[in-house]
Symmetry: C2
Subunit: 445 residues, 2 copies
Amino acid sequence: MNDVTGILARHIVDSRFADIPQNVLHEAARALLNCLGCAIGSARQDTVENALSAIREFSGPAQAAVFGRDERLDALNAALINGISTHVLDYDDTHARAVHPSAPLWPALLAYAEWRPTRGADLLHAFVLGVETECRIALSVFPEHYDRGWHITGTAGIFGAAAAIGKLLGLDEQQMRWALGIAATQSSGLREMFGSMCKSLHPGRAAQGGMMAALMASKNFTSANNAIEGERGWAHVTSTRFDPAVITGELGSRFELMSNMYKPFACGLVVHAAIDGCIQLRNEHRLQPQEIARIDLAVCPIVMELTAIREPQTGLEGKFSIFHAAATAVVFGAAGEPQFSNAAVRDERVVALRRRVHVAPDAALKKIQSRVTVTLNDGRALTTFVENALGTLARPMSDADLEAKFRSLTDGILTAAQADRLIELCWTAADLADGAEIARATVPR
Amino acid sequence: MNDVTGILARHIVDSRFADIPQNVLHEAARALLNCLGCAIGSARQDTVENALSAIREFSGPAQAAVFGRDERLDALNAALINGISTHVLDYDDTHARAVHPSAPLWPALLAYAEWRPTRGADLLHAFVLGVETECRIALSVFPEHYDRGWHITGTAGIFGAAAAIGKLLGLDEQQMRWALGIAATQSSGLREMFGSMCKSLHPGRAAQGGMMAALMASKNFTSANNAIEGERGWAHVTSTRFDPAVITGELGSRFELMSNMYKPFACGLVVHAAIDGCIQLRNEHRLQPQEIARIDLAVCPIVMELTAIREPQTGLEGKFSIFHAAATAVVFGAAGEPQFSNAAVRDERVVALRRRVHVAPDAALKKIQSRVTVTLNDGRALTTFVENALGTLARPMSDADLEAKFRSLTDGILTAAQADRLIELCWTAADLADGAEIARATVPR
């Protein structure tokens, strides 16, 4: 275990497409669809606009699409901006224990595919290897690294992007070591930034920096050989604990991508179980807001620590209000971005109903659980228990759920036909002769 | 002292050119001359070539010069490449206790000046503020931050570049806070990389990343407000010690730039005292190698820990050979890059003489001291004691020394007339209506 960087580099270099099981490839396509929906849906966010206006004058040739927008940038800058837009809503995928896997990867991979012809199968393969790299490196120092204050999606994500792009570039083992090393020495991102635009800058910089690391390594720009595990390597400098076996164990047989989760609702995970229960009761009983006397929620105590805003004034505050979340879910039967807009937070029906929401913390409940009781004006009580919120590993979003989420996010930006086509491209990505078709199909025109 | 980032941001924003003393401005011009010599002299190094070939296809408009070369890049990529070339020989300036100040700064500042018309006085002013920012932030966590494994020229340099470019952009106080925050969350660079090309990547990325941080802040891309001192801010995440008073004390009256040093010799500092003594004796006595029976060096013990290679085979190994350093100094009367070339290491006169060099560690001597005794074939012994090696604060290189170093480095790349002109531009930088003249004058054509 003295040469973790070398073992990992060799694995990435030696891996063949045929080594990746079908279910893992399908999960990669699911991640792609979810990623593109998030990025396209965020294409006009202030965070994206501000970043774009800062770099636009410096961008190189129009090599790659900005997802959901008409302009094109050089591939490195496209990776940056698309990494930002994928994460800005915090609606992108989440590994069960560590990073947001897609935001540092798909933006780099699709930018690469527009720059150099790349088969869809190779994109999926590189993505799988990128996820393994970033998640394993993250988990090898987790949670100590995160507890110290590092935003692990940025700090570990850059390794994933370097591995994925390095695979497409066909790096040899020595070059792949360098790519991981150049990534290590650019790794950054502070949790102090949470709540500011910099949170989504982190995966953007990871995508761009990792891509640059691989490009530099392909030109024989050298780094230390043991950048991860070396005496002054990344793991020891950024964490008090490092378990190299997490990186090298079961390489090629255990796939961290199979622990990837997708958010069905556009807010923090702790509110999902309550939303889930509300939507279930609403749909089952065709509930109308005006017939509801009160809604009682039993939830894990942490819910009221994080989301106790009673009268949110903005969409963003609505995401931190269990009261709004439950009410908007019952009124609209959904909890996507539109249900957390400023308009939704001020909607009279939602405001009236959320004042009839009552929350009881229950230490017996987990974060992903809730008990929802809706009492009607006629005195009837309807109740449901959510054991595993939708979107958790035990109850993943279906492919159809992911398609519906994608359509909701891209509505008003892509036409229905464009959305259909992009969904189809994601599901058939492994068969595409030209992976860049996916990137081009994100553009509204 | 609860708002270090705010105090620093306010100082940078409020500072006026008239606040900077003349001697500080002259030191800025000295740093500029030294920086450009190093960068131009390194313009064809493999490290620079490899980095350039990786990013060339992605570069934007031809906004800014690559020092010492004909091609032009967008301003952000020019800052990157010129930051690399400034540092690659490890011949650039060194603050007495912390960072290499110029490499993250002048490349960004001159790239900026080519992009947006900037007076020379404003460049010097911004440089001074950048040095204060990066050195004070570095010293506030030094040496613990460095001991943990961070290459402080990269990690602190990015703050300097953000401050300097932010000043030129005319950021307001809130934007300057954001610029420092966006810098903080991109701060990176591992000492593990020493000995590889990544060492000089660090100031390059600092120049580029800091410039980008300021540009993003100018477009209201937000960060945390207390990125340096916050609970999960840069200082606490990357160091076990943080002294905020080092950052805020005597702002505007104590100038860290006055502790800047320039290397007269193209190798590690610990060898400088011996070289200095050898050159003194050579010049004073017009020594010829063939009349020398032996050279005895008494040096600080660390010299033999770091530079004990007896028979170096390459120029790079020559830099880690006290034997070669003394011999080449006597043979050539200098110890610049040419004296540490592969050819110099294999020069018969040097090889013969270095085998007659004897080294005695002496714990009573400091790193910057040496006692040199040259015994001639006729039995005469010539001796000198170097109390402070040339280039240290107590015995700085003169302006003429810096000019000679610049000419040596740029010889064969710039014509003598071009070198004269660039030297003149540096000394008169404060009077230049268009600071970009300096950048353009680095190009050989």
